[in-house]
């Protein structure tokens, strides 16, 4: 069968099965299990209504538990066992082995750099773009163009930026814009930007900043518009200049939103894999945790250390997780 046909067939079956479950289970509940007629009609309706939320929730809960909750526990277990010894419990041996690898510490160092640089730059650029575009007529067009990279895959973005960083031998015309400018301004030989240790990390980070700035801009722009006019008018009357208004009146009022944007990008950064995988694959000292983990899992086939590094990522995410849950609880009260 042609793959396209196969695809269509599976779509129909998959979605059909989902709908059939909901419709069928509700029908079963109302007609067969607790029919709303006969001697026990009233009690049956109450019972049906007790069960129904769980009927609605069941597929979602099942998938959530199986695909997100269970793996957290299982990964923790795997990180404490050794696959080669038939899954024997080895305590923290995997973690010890991981800590002895320089590549791991390189990944940690780079991840910390990413964690500082990417959210900071994305938020700063996003705030700048939001503030500037809010004041001009064609601001919406400008916004949607800055926002556009959000739709581009990390892999696509990697190709786009690899072209920017491309280097040709000295003396020939450069086709990567960065080297073209570099040669033109400095007269030096073109550089293989992605192979220059340490600084190449920043060239990779630029890609993510480029993608995430639009996100920050959209959220912050909405927050800026939500600022009460009176506070700004009062500042103008008091003779504040535009910069004072921005930094002393507007920014403090949207601090909460800035924090949300910051943490959201932080989570993206912790999981960043595609960009490093596609552009350098962790060579030239650009390793990050997610790619280190992928390496361990699927190249070295070392599930113990792979799981241990996944747990490190989980550990780094945990503060944000707790903070989010705490906020959500506070809101529901």
């Amino acid at each position: 069968m042609h793959p396209a046909l196969q695809g269509v067939a599976t779509i129909v079956i998959g979605v059909g099965a989902c709908l059939a479950y909901f419709y069928g289970s509700n029908q079963f509940l109302d007609r067969v299990l607790f029919p709303a007629k006969g001697p026990n009609a009233g009690r049956n309706i109450n019972r049906a209504n007790m069960v129904r939320p769980w009927l609605f929730l069941f597929p979602a809960l099942f998938a959530l538990c199986l695909y997100l909750a269970y793996p957290v526990v299982e990964t923790l277990r795997l990180s404490l066992t050794d696959r080669n010894q038939d899954g024997a419990f080895v305590g923290l041996a995997n973690y010890a082995q991981m800590a002895s690898e320089p590549k791991f510490w390189e990944a940690m160092r780079n991840n910390m750099l990413w964690l500082i640089v990417v959210p900071a730059l994305s938020t700063a650029f996003g705030l700048l773009a939001a503030q500037l575009t809010d004041r001009i007529k064609w601001g919406n067009i400008a916004k949607s163009l800055i926002f556009m990279p959000m739709a581009i895959s990390f892999v696509g973005a990697s190709v786009i930026w690899k072209l920017v960083y491309d280097a040709r031998p000295p003396g020939t015309e450069q086709i990567g814009v960065l080297n073209a400018l570099y040669v033109w301004f400095t007269g030096n030989d073109p550089q293989q930007w992605l192979t220059v240790p340490f600084w190449n990390n920043f060239f990779l980070m630029i890609v993510l900043v480029w993608i995430q700035t639009g996100f920050a801009m959209v959220i912050l722009s909405a927050a800026l518009r939500g600022i009460p006019e009176e506070t700004i008018e009062a500042a103008i009357v008091d003779g504040a200049n535009p910069f004072q208004i921005f930094f002393k009146i507007k920014v403090p009022q949207i601090m909460g939103t800035i924090l949300v944007v910051w943490t959201t990008i932080t989570i993206v950064v912790l999981k960043v894999f595609d960009i490093v995988y596609a552009m350098t694959n962790g060579q030239w000292e650009t390793q990050v945790l997610a790619n280190y983990m992928f390496d361990k899992l699927f190249r070295a086939n070392d599930w113990g250390v792979g799981s241990a590094s996944a747990m490190v990522i989980m550990l780094l995410v945990t503060p944000i997780l707790v903070w989010n849950v705490w906020n959500a609880r506070k809101e529901m009260r």
């Binding site: 793959p3 599976t10 779509i11 998959g14 989902c18 909901f22 509700n26 209504n49 939320p53 609605f56 929730l57 597929p59 979602a60 809960l61 959530l64 695909y67 997100l68 269970y70 793996p71 957290v72 299982e74 990964t75 500037l132 575009t133 004041r135 400008a142 163009l145 739709a151 581009i152 895959s153 990390f154 892999v155 696509g156 190709v159 786009i160 072209l163 920017v164 086709i175 990567g176 814009v177 996100f215 959209v218 959220i219 909405a222 103008i236 200049n241 535009p242 949300v260 999981k271 596609a278 997610a290 899992l297 599930w303 996944a310 990522i313 989980m314 995410v317 997780l321 849950v325 959500a328």
Partner: protein
């Protein structure tokens, strides 16, 4: 607001200029890829894409002469054009790579075995020889010429089915689509029911479940890779479409439930209570009232999930692509191209652009919903 007397004009100009610069910076890399995808390999390799729009003088790669032989006054003559159909202006030319600019237009080069070559300014050549050149390798000509901008669709033909091996993205395109559509629709269906239960049904433990979903929102999917791959292999799903749909469904659910629940909670209570009083079942309320009213939230999540599954590499690599590679998705194929054909920018740029064009269309068509979803999903 900030138009205090005297400040306005200069500041407004500064704002306009800064925005222009910012937009240009953000757009420049993508435009580069788009322009490159319409250029030939030679053009990409010899000049920056930014110079492709203007007339440019550059040294062209060698062109081997070819054409029909005519016997003219005892000499075998081959005539033709170096740049058929193009308005080129040759400023210098040569017959060896060591001296590619040895001759001016109109001059005649004397080659070995009694052959001569003449190239004029318009790019026409005339080659003469004392013996027949039938079956012989004709000389190559190097030119430095000004040629008008030239674009080609050949790369797209290669990538969309004409190319061989990994150049051909059509199969990967179909696979990506096959992964994406069910992986977008199934979580919506599953999450909508759950979100309704969490928003409008009363049962013990509801608040706890909402907190549970919020917590799962940030769990890195890296943790799920090994346990789930083991599970899939263990229960016989193996690597394939079914596995990748299930995985995407699982990973997309927290956001879906969260977004939809937040939206549904905001729907007017009266409508739902009235329907209940009128004897509508919960299933009817859900399908006839809640679903149509929640369309904006459904659309925002659909766009998120679509972009995420279309652009995904990691989940597809782990749960879908087996050793035969028959179900490879576009992102994976592009990464492979980066490895094997890293220098072939014409194929790479075109493949990447084919892959990002669909999300871009969705993005520009449905940006409103995407923005609304972002705002609902993160500002809390």
């Amino acid at each position: 607001m900030d138009n205090i007397a005297g400040h306005k004009s200069s500041l407004t100009w500064a704002v306009h200029i800064s925005v222009v610069v910012l937009v240009a910076l953000w757009l420049f890399p993508t435009v580069g890829l788009l322009v490159s995808s319409f250029r030939t390999a030679d053009q990409i390799a010899t000049s920056g894409w930014w110079s492709s729009l203007s007339q440019q003088e550059r040294q062209n790669p060698a062109i081997r002469l070819e054409g029909a032989e005519v016997l003219d006054g005892g000499l075998y003559v081959i005539e033709g054009a170096l740049f058929p159909g193009l308005e080129a202006e040759v400023s210098a030319w040569g017959t060896s790579s060591r001296a590619p600019e040895a001759y001016a237009p109109g001059e005649t080069a004397e080659l070995t075995k009694g052959r001569t070559v003449t190239v004029d300014a318009a790019g026409n050549f005339r080659m003469t020889a004392e013996t027949s050149q039938e079956g012989a390798r004709l000389p190559r000509v190097f030119t430095t010429a000004t040629t008008p901008p030239e674009f080609t669709l050949e790369n797209y033909r290669q990538v969309l089915g004409g190319g061989s091996g990994t150049d051909d993205m059509s199969r990967a395109f179909i696979s990506t689509l096959t992964v994406t559509v069910p992986a977008t629709i199934i979580p919506i269906v599953v999450a909508a029911f759950a979100a309704y239960a969490l928003a409008w049904m009363d049962f013990p433990g509801r608040a706890l479940l909402v907190a549970f979903v919020v917590g799962l929102l940030v769990v890195p999917l890296q943790l799920a890779l090994i346990p789930l791959l083991k599970l899939h292999l263990g229960i016989g799903i193996g690597k394939g479409y079914l596995g990748v749909w299930l995985a995407h469904t699982g990973f997309g659910l927290p956001l879906a439930i969260y977004l939809l629940r937040n939206y549904m909670v905001g729907l007017p209570r009266d409508i739902i209570e009235n329907a209940r009083v009128d004897g509508a079942t919960e299933f009817q309320i859900f399908t006839k009232i809640i679903l149509p009213l929640s369309f904006p939230a459904l659309a925002s999540f659909a766009i998120f999930q679509f972009l995420w599954t279309w652009n995904d590499l990691l989940v597809a690599k782990v749960f879908l692509i087996d050793s035969t590679g028959r179900t490879t998705v576009m992102t994976n194929q592009i990464v492979e191209l980066l490895g094997t054909r890293g220098g072939n920018w014409e194929i790479l740029a075109t493949a990447a652009f084919v892959s990002i064009s669909v999300p871009l269309v969705v993005f520009f068509a449905m940006q409103r919903y995407l923005v609304r979803g972002l705002l609902a999903g993160s500002v809390k």
